[in-house]
Every structure is written in C-alpha cells, then in structure tokens.
Amino acid sequence: MDSWLRKMVGAAVKTGPVPQHVAFIMDGNRRWARRAKTETVAGHSMGFSTLKKTLEWCLDLGVHMVTVYAFSSENFKRSEKEVGDLMKLAEEKFIQLLNEEEMIHRLGVCVRVLGDVKRLPPSLQQAIGKAVDISKDNTRAILNVCFVYTAREEMAMAAHEITQAVQEGELYESDITEHLVEQCLYTNASPPPSLIIRSSGEVRLSDFLLWQGAYVHLAFSPVLWPDFSFWDLVKCFLQYQQSHNAITTALRRRAEHLSTQQLDLDTAAVVHNSKDGSLPPAQVRRLVEQRQEGRARRVQAFLSTLHDRRNSFFHSLAAKAQANKNTRAQE
C-alpha cells in the first residue's frame, strides 16, 4: 500500500519541474544518536542507511545528480575517536561499493569524491580512488560525495589552479571570468544544483557549495537526517517547484548580464589596444570575435588538462590499491 502510494505521489511530483541536481547537508546524526541513547557511530551508520534510501527515492523522482556533504574539513576538529570511527565507516562503505562493481555498471552510477582527499588515511584514499576510477565513465546517475571539503577551500583551490595557469602562460589574466572559476570547482562535471536540502532544522550552509548555492532553492527540513523520509523529500521538491520560475528567470538574467558585460570588456580592450583608437565597427566586431575564440580555446585546453590531472590522481590511487592487493595475495 505504502509503495503504491509512493509511486502515485512520485508520478504526481514528476508532472512539475524536477530539479536536475539536488544537494544534501546530512545533519543531525549525532543528535539522533543522543536521542536514541546510542553511540555516535550508530547515528552515522543510520545516516548512511538514510542516504542509500534517499538516493533511491531521488532516482525514482527523476533526479540523476546528487551531491552530499559527507565530511567537512572542519570535522577534523571533532574528537579523535569520532573522526576515526567516521573514517572506518567511510572505508567500509567504499569497500562495500567496490564489491558491487557489477551493480554500479548495470545502474550506470558514477561516484565522484570532491575535496582534499590527500588528507585522508592512505587505505581510505585508495578505496576512494578505486571507486572513482571504476565508475568514471558511467553517466546515468552521478553521486558527488564531498569529503574533506569546504566551499572556501574549493574556491581557493580553483583560484590557485587559475593563477598557476596564468603564471605558466596557459591562460591570460583577461581569461579569468566567473565562468572559468565555476568550471574549475570540484563540481565542474555537473551543472550547479537547483535544490539544497539541509536536515535537522539548522538554517545555514556551513561552508557547503557557497559559490554554486547562489541561485538555488534552499530547503531547511526540521527532521534529523536519520529520520528523513520520502515524504520530507517530496515536501522539499514541491517547495522547489514553487521557486522554479524565479530561479530560471534569475539565472537567465544573470547569464545575459555576464555575456553583455564580457562583450563590453572585450570591445573596450580591442579599442584600447588599437593604435589610433578609431577602428571601423566591423573590424572591432571581428577582433572581438577573435579575442573570444582565442579565450575559448585556451580555457578549453586548460580545463581539459585540469580534468585529466584530477582523473589521473584517482587512477594512481586505484593503481596503488591494486598493487597492495597483489602484494597481499602473493604473501
């Protein structure tokens, strides 16, 4: 009866606009554990079960991209025991995922881990590397797991990549635009989310997707994450549908504004660079087009290098994991 009702409601929700990409701040595991008078790690474990169910509901509702805030860089400030338990739990879940490789490919799931993975224990790094590497070519459902992540670190990382590229001559200073910064963020392979859901009644972003969250519907759900249900998700989706038009209009206006602003900047630069400053309009247009084409080429080449570098990082972790496995097998 329940599943029949869910199917009906799911189909009804899908008659309205469904967000392409949804992000979750899974807050409230520890409070849930305290309330249930159990260990903190049990709360996190329960939170993982809710995540699994939520991903299934998202797929049923037609969402194929999900980003979750699993571990913030700030969480290292927690007690050593809790951080250790979280690391163990994460490793266990990534290994479980790797054991279901056939299912990953059958469902077409691509797992990406966003954050400063190098700060994690080597065994967890290798499990992550393998999971990311084996699923990288799947496209049907994308799961971004933010691990050792803060949005400020993400923006600083993008800024670092860009300034390095300018220093090495791959990019020009005038190539630095909002579009370029956005394309250098960890989330560059997916469009920005349309809906961010935070559980547990807290009403802040806590350093999560600050850049990408600029034009997003924010849904603050009062329930603790382990208690988050299908009906809570449906409620957030219905709320999002009421904002959909406003978000679409705001994004379109923003894109138009940026494009006009860039055109003005390029035109001004072309006129400024000309010797006498009195070029005929047709020539200005042609030079502006050349300038924009040159930028597009440089940015494309740079982004492709960045993408390859990130992929090869995870590939090398996966290779290390395989080498360790082989060594253990020989022993």
Binding site: V203, L210, W211, L218, I247
Partner: protein, 260 residues
C-alpha cells in the same frame, strides 16, 4: 491528467500545512502579537537584548523582492543598532541601495535622530568610507544641523555601528577580481589570502534577514555567507518588530558548532 490533479492536491496540502504552521507559531508566540502592529523604541529593544544569549556582530538585510522601500529598512537598521550589532550590510540584487546610497543615508540619519534623540552621539552611525567617498562626488540634499552633529561624531569616533551598502559586485565578481589580482601579482592563493582580500571592508556575516518571495539567495555574498544563519522573512515592505524579534530570538538560541 490524474497525476496533474494529484499534484494540485499535494500543492494545496503543502500550502495548507505551511499556513497552519504559521498560525500555530503565532498562537505560541501570542505575547509577540502587539509587535506585529507597533514599532519598538530603543529602550524596549535594549531591555529585550539583555535576555539574548548572543547577538550577531554582523547582520545583512538582503532585499530581492522588487523596488526597495527605505523606510522599513531604516527602521530595521535602528533596531539592529539598539541591539548592539556592530556591522549592518544592506544588500539588494539590483544595486538600488548602493546606487542611491546618499538618499538611503539621509533616511538612516533622520531615523537615527528620531530613534536615539540626544543619545545619538553615544550610538554613532558610521558609513563605509568607500560609500562616503562615492556619495561626496554626488550632489545630495542638505541635512539638518542636528543630523550633521551626529554624523560628525560618527566619523570622528570611528566606533559604533558600521553600515555597508553592497550589491552583486561584492559577491562572485569580487572573488573573480581577487583571483585576477593574484594572477597579476603572481602569487599563490590560499583561503587566508582570499579571506583577507574579501573581508577587508565587509566582514563575515552572522545573520542574514532575506526579504524575498522565494528561499533563494540570488547571489548574496557567497564568501561571507560561510556560517551565517539564513532567515527568510517575506516582503521587506511589511516587516514588523515581530519579524525582527523572532530573528534575534532564533539567532540567540542557535548552536553554531563550526564543524565540531
């Protein structure tokens, strides 16, 4: 067709539950009902502020619901000042507040005198130097000697509540500009460097009162929003003392863990 009807029913149920929740909240906070129809004096706010466990150091009043009406904003600013808030950012996504900051400044100065009276010198209102410099270039209507007196005290003392006028330029474009500067200076960028650049004039936010039709940030200061409490307060034209007190109560109760 059937699913379309079911969708309409679900939307109606959502609307009904939101309305009932709002009503239930009003019933629970019946003692605040008079505040929905009246203002608050500086003294009344100060009495309430003693009960708050914490007060935000920096409040952002963000307006995205169409043309800005200055009078309610000036009222809100005065309530924030009376609570002891050190920084107030007035932000709107169309740049209207920043664009006509000299007019808004006059509204604020008038409200300052009206609310604080003779004690306005001890609660100075300080405008961002950048805004003052920009407004000096534009002709602006003359102020009364009393207002001039208050303003003089503000600028000289350098303390009190600082008012910042911001728009979209302080959001993503400011981050892009910082990256361009780093590229020009050929220096390595990290969080600390970017933070120093971006929060040099406008510090990090603690509380955002978002006046919008929908719960969307519309590009509001992404760098500064890191741990800010975000409260969506409906249209700014209808803001009442109850909205403000609710927001301050909510901030006072919230537990900020900063990752711990």
């Amino acid at each position: 067709m059937l699913y379309g009807m079911l969708h309409a029913v679900l939307c109606f149920v959502l609307w009904l539950s939101t309305t009932l929740q709002g009503l239930w909240r009003s019933v629970r906070e019946l003692y605040m009902l008079p505040l929905a129809f009246s203002g608050l004096s500086v003294r009344q706010i100060q009495q309430r502020a003693r009960r708050w466990q914490k007060i935000p150091a920096h409040i952002c009043l963000a307006v995205t619901d169409g043309p800005v009406t200055y009078e309610p904003l000036a009222r809100l600013v005065m309530w924030c000042m009376a609570s002891g808030v050190k920084h107030i950012t007035i932000w709107d996504n169309q740049g209207l507040c920043k664009g006509s900051s000299s007019l808004l400044r006059q509204y604020l100065q008038k409200a300052h005198v009206a609310y604080f009276g003779s004690s306005c010198a001890s609660h100075p209102l300080v405008f961002d130097e950048a805004i003052l410099a920009a407004s000096q270039k534009r002709p602006c209507a003359s102020t009364t000697p009393e207002e001039e007196g208050c303003k003089g005290a503000d600028v000289q003392s350098g303390t009190g509540t600082r008012i910042h006028f911001c728009d979209d330029d302080e959001g993503r474009p400011a981050i892009v500009k910082a990256v361009q500067e780093a590229a020009r200076l050929q220096r390595n960028v990290d969080v600390a460097w970017l933070d120093a650049k971006l929060t040099a004039t406008v510090p990090e936010l603690d509380l955002v009162l978002m006046f919008s039709r929908e719960p969307v940030l519309h590009g509001l200061l992404p760098w500064h929003m890191r741990v800010a409490e975000i409260l969506f307060c409906g249209p700014h034209r209808h803001v009442t003392a109850r909205t403000f007190i609710r927001a301050m109560n909510s901030f006072s109760r919230c537990e900020q863990r900063f990752g711990r």
